[in-house]
């Protein structure tokens, strides 16, 4: 799914992701400031801790919306395949994390799972796009 072959639904999805990132960045910045510089406790601490997760969850919802709006069925298949690869990578990471917690009393650092999910997704999309480009002939 390269930029040049982006479908209208894909372009809309990319615009929404960009908007969400513009919301996420100040949110994470403000959260960092509030939690570090104020001795927050109770529901206020929970509120600020969870706040940056909202745009991230919205990001996942936007992917679902993209899959609904995408009329190019092959592009939809490529995206779903990439999501499966990313989900497998995420589950693998979580299993390793669970065993590390159970037997080694340690854990994978925070946010690694999310990073692995999107990195795997991007790699899977990239590999499929490169494979398709290699096969293109007019």
């Amino acid at each position: 799914m390269s930029c040049s072959s982006a479908t209208p639904a894909r372009k809309r999805y990319e615009r929404r992701v960009l908007t969400l990132m513009l919301v996420y960045l100040p949110t994470i910045f403000l959260t960092g400031r509030f939690v570090r510089h104020h001795a927050l406790q109770g529901w206020l601490l929970y509120f600020w801790s969870i706040l940056p997760a909202i745009p991230v969850i919205a990001l996942i919802a936007m992917m679902g919306r993209y899959l609904q709006e995408e009329t190019d069925e092959y592009q939809r298949v490529l995206t779903v395949r990439a999501l499966l690869v990313a989900t497998a990578a995420l589950l693998g990471t979580l299993v390793v994390d669970d065993f590390l917690r159970s037997f080694a009393s340690t854990a994978i650092p925070p946010f690694i799972g999310f990073t692995i999910f999107w990195l795997s997704f991007a790699i899977a999309i990239g590999v499929q796009t490169l494979r398709d480009r290699a096969a293109i002939h007019d």
């Binding site: 069925e73 592009q75 796009t129 398709d132 096969a135 007019d138």
Partner: protein, 64 residues
Amino acid sequence: MTNRLRILRAERSWSQQDLADRLEVSRQSVNAIETGKYDPSLPLAFKLARLFSIPIESIFTDEA
């Protein structure tokens, strides 16, 4: 499943992009169908048949 998409396209001197525009899909999709990497859904197969004014079975052949 094999298909005659490339031949049908060549008969009309259409590029993959031309066909993609007519089908309202990406060029990547046309290429994937032509090379047999992706079998289209029934609605898309019917759209192809209507575009070339031939039956679906004249485009796609089941190897089984």
